[in-house]
Symmetry: C2
Subunit: 570 residues, 2 copies
């Protein structure tokens, strides 16, 4: 492809609205352009990369035995009502009506569509297992689209759904996908990790894994243990209750509760500073709406609530922190001064395990500008249930082997999930077994964020000058650059190399632009094609420069050897 | 691929809601399933064919120098407001709001998106011409989706937009697309014709062609002339006014107008029968809303109005036949009795050319149950403008050479169109020319209905037993069928052939099902894979049957020759 007329609108300036490297570079290298918030166009270079990633995904999915289909983005609301997600999904679900005022959604995923397809078309164990996938456009009306195509509202996803006769079959289908995902992300040259993830209350048959591209900008925190290899999303990582078995009724130094004035002192930090204590000595009381109930959650002041654990504790569909106004209307107290003492009369109280060892702690007094000191459990307050409700911290014991865990950040590029019979039950997807009796299909679902994977690759493969594409996903393999296209010798030699490479079926970009050498090289660095051939001053001697984008290493090569040298590098 | 677990839900019964062969066969062969009216899922076999057609389109587009990109289906309303199509498009445009109540459309085409992209990214003549295309999902909320994927609401389209510095450049870009389309539809083995089409009032630079797959079920009528090769959509085909120049003031046998009672006689047919005259002697008066005006259109009773010609005559955005209620409220007359005499005082009147030769004709008397006889132009009524407003009829003179034209029906599978500067002007897409002055880009647009093309292929390539796929788009090239998989020899031989073909990179479907031979053969005919290898009773002798789906011809082949014979057939 010749560069002069190709739409590669590179930018020298760093776009002001781009926060992370991949977003900046994808804009600067002319891979993408934003059309609306969270909605992007893939320009020629960007789409070439996207197609390469798609091809890798397709090859490995096919190799695993999955069958490719294509369903619609638009889905009738009836399907979503049947599964219950029409009501449960919330504002991320894009909805629309057709000309007859019938409700539709733009699919964020396709469980309903695939399950109802299988319900209608397959009815015998003889036709199972089946794993169906598609590479298709998805919609999620993100509250805050960001990081370019990493969190977009329209994006490309590979989603697959497996249908088995039983859970052993599901385990096999799941394993095949798990292995395929490893092959896919390895081929994409991602530094990634498969981590245990939260399966909510439906993944009862052995869970779920997320595939995380490691990156500082990742929105997910990965907890891992170098001793035993444990790796999990922090949402999922269990906190071991090391004090389990301690007799909480015999806390030492138990002093009487004392009411202290704490004017305008509300947050844990303010309370700890004002009273001169550790944050860990403060009991935080958070009020949550858990489906239709109100629940108070007690946590140590230096801990973070893990909302997923709270949600799972109640097997809830939806949990939501109460607003200040809601807190006041329910407790009659100002937020910041709510505490557990006498609260159980009004509201259900649950607490993180740590709270049962509360020993001369501080908590809100349910009275503006006052806190209690010397608060002890169980002497001073009641709790309905203790559970692991907080996030693990770096250095705390690994839930598997108790060695100290470390943290990394990750971008979720893939997710494999054992659904079990949740959707086959809702949609009525059954088959007849060997004995002719009707059974529910056992399902798994498997997603890859294809467009997000492209961004994750850029995030991991770049330097200060631009993108450094891994070969298998590079938009072109070779970039041929005559330094001065007006120089006949340079132009002729470059054209010759370009045509010879094309004849060998190699993807070449030929910089035929009448631009200064500096502009060409800067663009070449930015675009990041793996192998660069520069035809410059030594063209007269039949010498060109071969440069690798990865290392920056360059060497002079005779025109007689250049094609074979390039082939060797590839 | 092994057939046992592949999702190919063939049907013996003809689906009751399918009217045309392609729709029936695509359902019966398990290529597609309907999810909602006009919304389909492509199952494994169907999607394989769709991808083959996509690949042909992509190869020929790339060969023409076009650059592939991918834009979003969702488009902000602002773009459509800027082009004026937000208001002009009507109920076919699917609209939705995001969580912030911002308006979006689901794109039926992408002129606005591509034009604004080029406006923002290209500003110099040096970067032009550019032709950008995408293969992408489109949305049209059809009033009456039908014929399966032929008229669907979500469908796959290839759309391309060319940007040139001037009309000569546009002519070249247009020609490149016109030629590419010929290559594409030839490779798809379609019997098609490129026909002149209506360019409305914007295609001022030499028009537009539609590529029509010939088919009885086609919704478009093609007018063609075997003498000179002329071919046009009937919308576009001009009717020559052979009487042009006749002195209309001197009609012979002019008798006085006579009012006759015609009780309950309204339609042209009823009037002609009641009065014992030819339908051609009746003047039809149709009332249309043309943008904001009301217009009466006069036509000979045996002619059909060509709405496109009417629309173009007024350079209108929208024309619409008035409802009976509207006719009555405007004219004060019952529909069926409206006529041109004295009507021009109330309403603008235009007439087809033929009407100026009206000679003792009959027309509505603007009075219920009455018509006028012996009506003559210009003696009895006034007309503001005569024009070619009717459809040509089979056997009438070719507008190019005056030989008799014939009709065919066609399915529109492609459309190439010279847009000129309509969108570049609306969206402000300009470039700087050699002299540094700002010029509008000159555009063309080029569409192919990719999913519709698949249906058109099926429509043309089938027999009473099923689909007969052309090789280049067939989902598999070879279908290997052991008659009885429980017979060790048959199974082993079939498996050997299957694996040898796979090793040669040939796409093979292996019918490993334990089904009766009759079921297998019926399915094979239905699915329509070009080459069939049947491994049956002669397996013991090392003989298999090779059968071609096209001709049905079959022959015995030794196992030693089967692979080379298959390769020869391919």
């Amino acid at each position: 492809m010749k560069q002069q007329k190709m739409l590669i609108p590179t930018l020298r300036e760093v776009p002001s609205d781009a926060e992370v490297a991949s977003h900046k570079l994808m804009l600067r290298a002319g891979l993408i352009r934003q059309l609306a918030s969270g909605v992007y166009s893939y320009l020629p270079l960007g789409y070439k990369v996207l197609k390469k990633v798609e091809a890798i995904v397709r090859e490995e999915m096919d190799k695993s035995g999955a069958q490719e289909i294509l369903t619609s983005a638009i889905q009738p609301a009836e399907l979503w009502k049947k599964s219950g997600r029409w009501d449960a999904y919330g504002p991320e679900l894009m909805r629309l009506q057709d000309r007859h005022q019938r409700d539709f959604v733009l699919g964020p995923t396709h469980e309903e569509v695939f399950t109802s397809l299988m319900r209608d078309e397959v009815n015998s164990y003889k036709k199972l297992p089946v794993n169906l996938y598609q590479i298709q456009t998805k919609y999620r009306d993100e509250r805050r689209p960001r990081f370019g195509v990493i969190r977009a509202r329209e994006f490309i996803m590979k989603d697959a759904y497996s249908f088995d006769t039983n859970t052993d079959g599901l385990d096999e289908s799941y394993k095949a996908m798990y292995d395929a995902y490893h092959r896919i992300f390895t081929r994409c040259q991602l530094n990634y990790r498969a981590v245990e993830a939260d399966a909510g209350t439906i993944g009862g048959h052995g869970g779920t894994h997320e595939f995380m591209a490691l990156s500082e900008i990742g929105e997910d925190t990965i907890v891992h243990c170098s001793a035993c290899g444990f790796a999990a999303n922090i949402e999922k990582a269990e906190v071991i209750d090391l004090n389990s078995g301690t007799d909480t009724a015999t806390n030492a130094n138990v002093e009487p509760v004392e009411l202290v004035e704490t004017p305008n002192v509300k947050t844990v930090k303010e309370v700890a500073e004002y009273l001169g204590i550790e944050a860990g000595k403060v009991i935080k009381t958070l009020l949550y709406k858990v489906d239709d109930d109100i629940v108070a959650v007690l946590l140590s002041g230096d801990d973070e609530l893990n909302e997923i654990k709270l949600k799972n504790l109640f097997d809830a569909e939806l949990i939501e922190l109460l607003s200040d106004e809601q807190v006041e209307s329910i407790t009659g107290d100002k937020p910041g001064y709510v505490g557990p003492i006498n609260l159980i009369d009004k509201i259900k109280i649950v607490a993180d395990n740590k709270i049962q060892y509360a020993d001369n702690a501080v908590c809100g007094a349910n009275k503006v500008d006052y806190h209690y000191k010397q608060v002890n459990y169980p002497r001073d307050f009641a709790v309905e249930k203790f559970a692991d409700l907080r996030n693990i911290k770096e250095g705390e014991p690994c839930p598997k082997c108790q060695a100290a865990v470390s943290f990394s950040q990750g971008i979720e590029v893939g997710h494999v999930f054992k659904l079990g019979t949740k959707y086959s039950e809702a949609m009525g997807a059954k088959y007849l077994d060997e004995n002719g009796s009707s059974q529910l299909m056992v399902m798994g679902c498997y997603g890859i964020g294809v467009s997000r994977t492209v961004a994750a690759i850029v995030e991991q493969h770049s330097d200060e000058n631009g993108i450094v594409w891994p070969k298998e996903v590079a938009p072109f393999q070779v970039h041929v650059i005559p330094v001065n296209v007006k120089n006949d010798k340079q132009r002729e030699l470059a054209t010759l190399i370009y045509e010879q490479l094309l004849a060998k079926g190699i993807e070449v970009l030929y910089d035929d632009r009448q631009e200064r050498a500096g502009v060409k090289f800067k663009d070449a660095d930015l675009i990041g094609i793996p192998i660069r051939v520069v035809v410059g001053a030594k063209a007269d001697e039949g010498i060109v420069e071969l440069k690798l984008r990865t290392t920056g290493a360059s060497r002079d090569v005779s025109i007689d050897d250049i094609i074979s040298d390039i082939l060797a590098e590839l």
